[in-house]
């Protein structure tokens, strides 16, 4: 899974396109993705960014890829320390055999 987003500013909600690749020998259906946000810096903690979990279904063929969209919001109260900051993200997902 890989995906990044830019252009965030206080109060903005936008969509992060997450690319899911299937390296199994059978098709899969992604059923959930949870994102863990890490601190961008001591002055800009992870609490300032929310990434809603993906819950649904996204079919991915053998050796194929699919895009699932995650809703991302930078809190309106984000401090000035978040200006220009980059939050590392960690994705964890679940899928079942199609």
């Amino acid at each position: 899974m890989s995906g990044s987003i830019g252009g965030l500013y206080p109060g903005l909600t936008t969509h992060l396109p997450l690319r899911v690749a299937n390296r199994e020998q059978f098709a899969i259906v992604v059923t959930s993705v949870v994102t863990t946000v890490q601190d961008a810096s001591p002055a800009c903690t992870a609490a300032n960014l929310s990434v809603a979990p993906f819950v649904g279904t996204a079919r991915v063929l053998v050796d194929g890829t699919a895009i699932v969209e995650l809703t991302v919001t930078l809190r309106r109260s984000a401090p000035r320390g978040c200006e220009g900051a980059t939050f590392p993200l960690q994705y964890q997902g679940e899928a079942r055999k199609a």
Partner: protein, 144 residues
């Protein structure tokens, strides 16, 4: 049976990413602990700088107008703060109509004392502030 259980088994996809870079100043470095490629980050913008306003003096009033400041997605910033500078470049408190955060791109300052003044604007978005603009051309308010 085993195959059926296997078919029902949830496949867990785990990708752990540790990115060493935390600020936008440099490119992120990544260590991947599972198969995968590409970055995994959410990056915030930097605020746009203010642009020099235009000031027009009347009878103890000064009308100040400035260009809109926009975010990279084209959205206008939520507001601006205006400052007035005296001939020595010192910031002087502005009157109520131009004080605080202004959500439009113009204001009229009433009761401006006689003298020569310049104005500047600073864009704001939430707690964030852009760089202050360069100052306007000087305007002179005549003694009443």
């Amino acid at each position: 049976m085993r195959s059926a259980r296997s078919a029902r088994r949830l496949l867990r996809l785990v990708l752990s990413v540790t990115l060493l870079s935390t600020l936008a100043a440099g490119p992120a470095q990544a260590r991947w602990s599972a198969d995968g490629a590409g970055p995994a980050t959410a990056r915030a913008v930097t605020m746009p700088a203010g642009q020099a306003p235009v000031a027009i003096a009347g009878d103890s009033d000064v009308t100040v107008r400035w260009p809109v400041a926009t975010m990279p997605d084209g959205a206008a910033v939520e507001g601006y703060r205006i400052e007035r500078l005296d001939a020595n470049g010192n910031i002087v408190p502005v009157a109520a109509a131009c004080a605080g955060t202004i959500t439009s791109t113009t204001c009229v300052e009433h009761g401006v004392p006689a003298g020569t003044w310049r104005y500047a604007d600073t864009p704001f978005e939430g707690n964030w502030a852009g760089a202050v603009s360069s100052s306007s051309a000087p305007v002179t308010v005549a003694a009443g």
